[in-house]
C-alpha cells in the first residue's frame, strides 16, 4: 500500500505539488472503495445466494432459482428491495444511536480487511501488528451491536444486544488465546510473516504443527464462529426467540448493513483461519520462486487463487455447520467457552512453549506433524464413510448437479 502510493506519486509528477497526506488519503479511499465494490460487496451478496442454495439442498429443497440464471441475481433483487424500503426509526428509539449503530458494526467488520492477505504481496497494509489489529478493531462490532440493541428501545433488541455482548466478549478470550501459539511459533504478529512461517504442504501448516496448535485450530475456528454470531452461536439474533435480535427494529438500508457485515464476516473468519492455521497463500511454487525469478508474478496469482480457494471452502464448511447444528442455549454457550475453550487454550499456550523447547532438543518431534496430518485427514474420511453408509442404507442416489 505505502509502496504503491510511493510508486504512483513518483510516476505522476503533478501529484507531488499536492501535500502527501491528501494524496495518501485519496489513494486509501480509492482502494477502500475498490475493496468494497469488487470484493466485499460481491462476496457478501453472492454468499447470501450460495448459502440459501446450500441450505435448500441440505433440506431437500431447491432454494432461490428464479431471479436470473439459477437465481444467481437473487442477492441484487434483495438488495434493491431493501434500498427502496422505508428507513424506519421507532418513535421511542434513541435516534442518534439508532442511526449510527449499523455503520459502527459495518466499520468494525470492514476495517479488518486492511490486514486480510490475498496473496504474497497482495495485502492492503502489511501491518507488523496484523493479527492484534484484527482482534482490536473487530471488537468495535460489539459496540455497534449493543448500541443497536439498546437504542431500539425494544426488549427483543435489547436482549439480543446483551446476549451478543456477553457472547463476543467471552469468546474473544479463547480466540485470542488460540492465536497465541501461532504467534509463539512465528515470532511475529504480521499476517504475511505468519503465512511465510508455514509451508505449502498440509503437514507444514500450523494446524498440524503440534498437538496444541491442532486443538488451537478448532478452538479458534469455533470461537470465530461465535464472534461472528454464526449458528450454532446465533443466540444474539435467535429468530425463534428474539424475532431478529438486535436488528429487529431496523429496516431498509440499515438492515442491509447488518446483514452485509454478517456475510462479509464469513469471509473474514475463513481468511483468518486460513492465514493462521491452514498455510495461507503458500503453494509448492513459492518454494522455488528464488530459482525462477521471472515467474514470480504468476506464482503470486497462483497463491491468491489457493488462498481464496481455501477460504471459500471454509466458508462452505461454515454454511454447512449452520444448517446442521441447532442453536446452543445461553448457558451452554457460556459452558463451552469458559469450561472447555478457556482452559484448553491456556494449556495450549503452555504446551506450545514446552513443545518449542523440546523440539529444539529433540528434532524427532518434528515427525509428529505427519501423524497429526493423518489424524486430520481422518475427519473428512470418517464423514465420507458415514455418508456412503447412509446412502447405502437409504438406497438413495447421488445427484451432484447443483443446477436444477
Amino acid at each position: 500500500m505505502e509502496r504503491l502510493a510511493d510508486y504512483i506519486v513518483y510516476n505522476l509528477p503533478f501529484l507531488q505539488q499536492i501535500p502527501r497526506v491528501i494524496v495518501d488519503l485519496i489513494i486509501m479511499l480509492f482502494f477502500a472503495t475498490c475493496m468494497l465494490l469488487f470484493w466485499v460487496a460481491l462476496f457478501a451478496g453472492i454468499t447470501s445466494w450460495v448459502e440459501r442454495r446450500v441450505a435448500g439442498r441440505i433440506q431437500s429443497r431447491i432454494g432461490p432459482n428464479r431471479v436470473g440464471p439459477q437465481g444467481f441475481l437473487q442477492w441484487i433483487a434483495d438488495g434493491l428491495k431493501c434500498f427502496l424500503k422505508e428507513d424506519f426509526v421507532p418513535a421511542a428509539a434513541d435516534k442518534k444511536l439508532f442511526l449510527l449503530a449499523p455503520y459502527i458494526v459495518f466499520a468494525g467488520m470492514f476495517a479488518v480487511f486492511v490486514v486480510v492477505p490475498f496473496g504474497d504481496g497482495l495485502i492492503i497494509s502489511n501491518l507488523n501488528i496484523g493479527i492484534f489489529y484484527v482482534l482490536a478493531i473487530s471488537s468495535l462490532v460489539v459496540v455497534g451491536i449493543l448500541m443497536s440493541g439498546w437504542s431500539s428501545n425494544n426488549k427483543w433488541s435489547l436482549l439480543g444486544g446483551m446476549r451478543s455482548a456477553a457472547q463476543i466478549v467471552s469468546y474473544e478470550i479463547p480466540v485470542s488465546l488460540a492465536i497465541l501459539p501461532v504467534i509463539l511459533l512465528t515470532g511475529s504478529l504480521g499476517m504475511q510473516d505468519i503465512i511465510r512461517a508455514q509451508g505449502p504442504y498440509p503437514w507444514q501448516w500450523f494446524a498440524f504443527h503440534n498437538p496444541f496448535t491442532f486443538i488451537a485450530f478448532f478452538i479458534f475456528f469455533i470461537g470465530a464462529l461465535a464472534e461472528g454470531n454464526r449458528t450454532p452461536f446465533d443466540i444474539p439474533e435467535a429468530e425463534s426467540e428474539l424475532v431478529a435480535g438486535y436488528n429487529t427494529e431496523y429496516s431498509g438500508m440499515r438492515f442491509v448493513f447488518f446483514f452485509f457485515a454478517e456475510w462479509a464476516n464469513l469471509y473474514i473468519i475463513a481468511a483468518l483461519t486460513v492465514t493462521l492455521f491452514l498455510g495461507g497463500w503458500n503453494t509448492p511454487a513459492h518454494l522455488y520462486t528464488n530459482l525462477f525469478g521471472l515467474l514470480h508474478r504468476s506464482v503470486d496469482v497462483a497463491g491468491t487463487f489457493v488462498f481464496i480457494l481455501k477460504s471459500l471452502f471454509l466458508v462452505f464448511v461454515i454454511i454447512w455447520i449452520r444448517w446442521t447444528l441447532p442453536r446452543l442455549r445461553v448457558d451452554q454457550m457460556m459452558d463451552v467457552c469458559w469450561k472447555y475453550f478457556v482452559p484448553f487454550s491456556f494449556a495450549n499456550i503452555v504446551g506450545t512453549i514446552i513443545w518449542m523447547v523440546l523440539a529444539d532438543a529433540a528434532p524427532v518431534l518434528g515427525y509428529v506433524r505427519y501423524i497429526l496430518f493423518v489424524v486430520g485427514l481422518m475427519v473428512p474420511l470418517a464423514i465420507a464413510m458415514k455418508i456412503t453408509r447412509n446412502f447405502r442404507l437409504a438406497k438413495s442416489e447421488i445427484h451432484l448437479n447443483p443446477f436444477i
Partner: protein
Amino acid sequence: MATTASTDAVPGFRGTYFGRIKNAIISIMEGMSVTLGYLLQRPITIQYPDRTPKPVKDTLPERYRGILELDMKTCTACLACERACPIGCIKIEVVKDKETKKRYITRFDIDIAKCMYCGLCVDPCPGGAIRHTNEFEGSTSDVQYLVRRFVPPGERIEPAKPKKKEKEEAGAEGS
C-alpha cells in the same frame, strides 16, 4: 451417586468432562455427514406450476373431481342437480314462454367458491350434462369471478329434449 443422577437428568450434561468432548465431536460429525448426504441428493421439490415435467393437470387421475362444467347442449333443465346440491351452489332459473309454451333456461350459475366437490350433482344428471373436469386452478382476483355463468345474462337458452334411452344409460353409468 445422587449427583450423577441429577446431572443425568439434564439432557446434554451426561458423562465425564472428556466424555462430553468426545460426544460432541462424534455427534457433530454424525450430524454433518447426514446433512452433507442430503446436499448430495436430489431435492424433492416439484416446481409447480411452470417447471414440472408435464402439466400437473395431465397427471391427475381420471375421475378427479375438479371444477364443475356444464354442457348446455345436453342439459334438460330438470333441476336435479340443483336439488341434489347440499349447499345450494347451483342456481337455475327456468321461465316458460306463455305464447309458445316452451321452457327456457335464463340462468345457470355454479358458484365454485361454495362448491365442495362432493359430486352429488353429477350422479342424478340424466344426460351427463354436468360433470367434473380436471381443472383445479381457480384463483381469481375476486370471489365473484368464481361464479361460473353458463347462460350469459339476458339471454335464454332452450333446454335439450329429454330422451328415455339416454336417461337409462346415464342412470346406469352414474355411480
